[in-house]
């Protein structure tokens, strides 16, 4: 009797283990698998945390997916957004792309990480597909550069680009005694305008807002530090010698500028600027309420204020100005900007690459790209869209496009994302007064050298 019971129990245990192992290793629930389905699935992954990319989602749902389904009625297009902060998005995407079971069929890639993801083997080269596509010629050359990895292959089709400058509230600057339209000639002009705001306006008006913490991730590196650094004439990376510049006057000056802003109390309270919601606080709360005088940020902020955006603010076109960022001492060419942008890429572990490519081609036509920019308020990567009247009529787009003349791109090399996190940490430590600008430069040299290797660094 007892033996019989034991046998039953053993049998049950073995079945249970088999079941557990099967569940653990099964394919079920994975996206993009087409086997056994009457319909093909096409999954698109993008970031949607904190109201980001509302325009993109709207455009996909209302414009692209219906068009695509007309041509391919048997395809199910699934949106699979990642509701995370910017920094977490890249880590999550890297994890998703590692397995066939989780990889989507299309992923939106920031051009700064595209090269790293391509090197990791996560993305499918589409050079051959692009060559046969007659629309590729309409894309702006320097934007195309952002999707070509170190191996010379193309890994994505850009759907937007951007430029950065100084948003300013005309009324506040006027009240503070700064002449409007404001066109700062050098960094000193920015400091004096901010000082005027601080001295002449109520205490709750923030004179100057720059992303300054680790929590704002790449925005701190690009919108703040690199906007300053590239205005000194010293880049991050020497493209000719393929070496990182780890010691230069520009590095020190950039850290010093940031330090000055906070030393002189011209920036926002640290508790507001050092958290992940910094951008929301600045451009959705303070600026529309007239509590922020100057903000160093990108053109996409107009998407925040457009009708139907997160914080509709129709008066923004009257109240605000968008000035180009001056070089450090006003040296040639006088202004500077940084550009990036996003692209549609096909993961190498996608199960539906051909369909994904058809989708990307359809989404990237002239008409469709124009529709996206009208909703999302970013700069277009297509030359023909840039000439469209509707596009040119959007508020501030004329200025933002003109900034592209003197714009710079981040180094398209494998280690940039790591160097970028070093910059973010150091900027935050300078801002919180943990280290001096001189110490920041010293640490930058040390940490970047250990990331990229001694043979890949140089001084200037």
């Amino acid at each position: 009797m007892r033996l019989k019971y034991a046998k039953k129990l053993t049998g049950l245990s073995i079945i249970l283990i088999c079941f557990l192992l099967m569940t653990a290793c099964s394919d079920e629930g994975a996206s993009g698998t087409s086997e056994g389905n009457s319909k093909d699935d096409l999954t698109i992954t993008f970031r949607s945390g904190g109201g980001t990319n509302e325009g993109l989602v709207d455009w996909l749902n209302k414009n692209i997916i219906p068009q695509f389904n007309e041509k391919y009625p048997d395809v199910n297009v699934n949106l699979s957004p990642l509701e995370v902060s910017e920094g977490d998005y890249f880590a999550k995407v890297s994890l998703l792309l590692q397995s066939e079971n989780t990889a989507p069929d299309i992923v939106t890639e920031d051009t700064f990480i595209l090269n790293s993801d391509a090197n990791a083997g996560y993305l499918e080269p589409i050079t051959d597909r692009v060559k046969e596509w007659d629309e590729w010629g309409s894309f702006t050359e320097n934007v195309k550069a952002g999707v070509i990895a170190e191996d010379g292959e193309i890994y994505g089709v850009p759907y937007n680009t951007d430029s950065r400058g100084l948003w300013y509230n005309k009324e506040l600057l006027k009240e503070a005694g700064v002449s409007v339209p404001w066109k700062p000639k050098n960094w000193e002009d920015i400091i004096s305008a901010a000082t005027a705001v601080k001295e002449n306006l109520p205490k709750d008006v923030v004179p100057l807002w720059m992303n300054s913490g680790k929590a704002t991730g790449e925005a701190t590196s690009m919108q703040t530090f690199e906007m300053l650094l590239y205005g000194t004439g010293d880049p991050l990376y020497n493209k000719d010698t393929k070496k990182w510049i780890v010691e230069s006057d520009g590095l020190l000056s950039s850290f010093k500028f940031i330090d000055t802003i906070y030393e002189k109390d011209l920036g926002p309270e640290l508790s507001k600027v050092l958290n992940g919601q910094a951008s929301t606080i600045a451009y959705q709360q303070l600026m529309p309420k007239g509590k922020l005088a100057i903000g160093l940020d990108g053109i996409w902020q107009t998407g925040t204020w457009r009708e139907g955006g997160p914080t509709p603010w129709p008066e923004s076109s009257e109240v605000l100005g968008f000035a180009p960022m001056p070089t450090q001492n006003g040296q040639e060419p006088g202004t500077t900007s940084m550009s990036g942008g996003w692209a549609f890429s096909i993961p190498s572990k996608s199960n539906n690459k051909d369909l994904a490519w058809e989708f990307i081609k359809m989404a990237s036509t002239k008409e469709n790209n124009l529709k996206l920019q009208l909703k999302d308020r970013n700069l277009t990567p297509r030359e023909d869209v840039a000439k469209e009247e509707k596009y040119q009529e959007m508020d501030f787009f004329e200025q933002a496009s003109s900034f592209l003349e003197n714009t710079h791109f981040r180094p398209a090399v494998d280690k940039y994302p790591n160097v970028s996190t070093v910059i973010q940490t150091l900027v935050e430590r300078v801002v919180t007064d943990t280290i001096t600008p001189e110490q920041a430069v010293e640490q930058y040299k040390k940490e970047v050298t250990s990331i990229v290797g001694k043979d890949k660094v140089t001084e200037r």
Binding site: S13, S94, N119, A120, G276, E428
Partner: protein
């Protein structure tokens, strides 16, 4: 004999796959340059002790160890352990209704998920939070608590969250102290102080050590609370080892380095546990 092995087999297999396996993998990855993205994600190499060499030269690591020790000392040892013990002593011998009411309030903190605890404390301590509202209502100026006193803030949140656990352990062991022994001591003329230090504490020494180990290991692993409240900042003032590990693995994309840090965290946990056991001279 064979039958018992047979019965244990399923749990052994499960343990090997889901417990021992990941530990061995972590051990292996900590000696590689495994990365989340970039060329190293594709061609991972064995790099020996390089991760550990980098770690011990990294000022960020040293700072994180220091922050971890401070966090551990303030929130686990002083906070949860001592406060938990005091609460248990205060509640000893009180009537059931009193014990239940206080008990439920304290346990509410413990049963609340860590992420909810973090959000509650953010809501309480943030710039426009409840605490500042209260201060303003009596005419005082607001304080940016999470930025002016970040370490104290996360410690208080952790104490609030974890004290109930210690309290319950101590309550159970204090109830086990025979009443006759206490009464005998009182008749012999022992003061309350002597009663506590000479009679009660030695008798509950075992529970103290067990609790110390549990609370320490739990606090060493606290991630959600700190990450949500301060993100390890401002600067690196609340960057404990788990936060440092996460940043290296998922923000700097250095998974190999991240796993090496997790291994060190494990070693610290083991050393701390052994230290408690040895110093209190108890057998677990």
């Amino acid at each position: 004999m064979y039958r018992s092995i047979f019965f244990l087999l399923p749990s052994w297999i499960l343990l090997l796959i889901f417990f021992v396996g990941p530990i061995l993998l972590t051990f292996y990855f900590s000696f590689t340059n495994l990365a989340l993205t970039g060329a190293q994600a594709q061609s991972t190499e064995f790099i020996g002790f390089q991760n550990f060499v980098t770690m011990f030269q990294d000022p960020g690591f040293r700072i994180s160890v220091l922050r971890t020790i401070v966090f551990l000392f303030l929130s686990a040892i002083i906070g949860q352990q001592v406060l938990g013990f005091l609460l248990a002593i205060l509640m000893k011998g009180k009537n059931t209704t009193f014990r239940r009411t206080i008990g439920i309030i304290i346990i509410a903190g413990w049963v609340t998920p860590e992420i909810v605890v973090a959000f509650c404390w953010v809501a309480f301590l943030s710039d426009n939070g409840t605490l500042n509202m209260l201060l303003n209502s009596i005419g005082l100026e607001s304080v940016a608590w999470l930025f002016t006193f970040p370490m104290i803030s996360v410690c208080i949140a952790n104490i609030w969250h974890g004290t109930a656990f210690s309290m319950m352990i101590f309550q159970a062991s204090l109830d086990d102290v025979p009443k006759t022994v206490e009464e005998a001591a009182i008749i012999d003329g022992a003061s309350k102080f002597q009663l506590l230090f000479r009679i009660i504490l030695p008798m509950v020494k075992g529970s103290i050590v067990t609790n110390m180990i549990l609370v320490t290991l739990q606090t060493l692993g606290v991630f959600t609370l700190i990450y949500t409240m301060t993100g390890g900042g401002p600067g690196n003032s609340t960057q404990t080892l788990p936060i440092f590990m996460y940043n290296q693995a998922f923000v700097n994309y250095q998974l190999g380095y991240g796993t090496a840090i997790s291994l060190v965290l494990l070693v610290i946990g083991i050393i701390a546990s052994l230290f408690y056991i040895r110093s209190m001279k108890v057998q677990i």
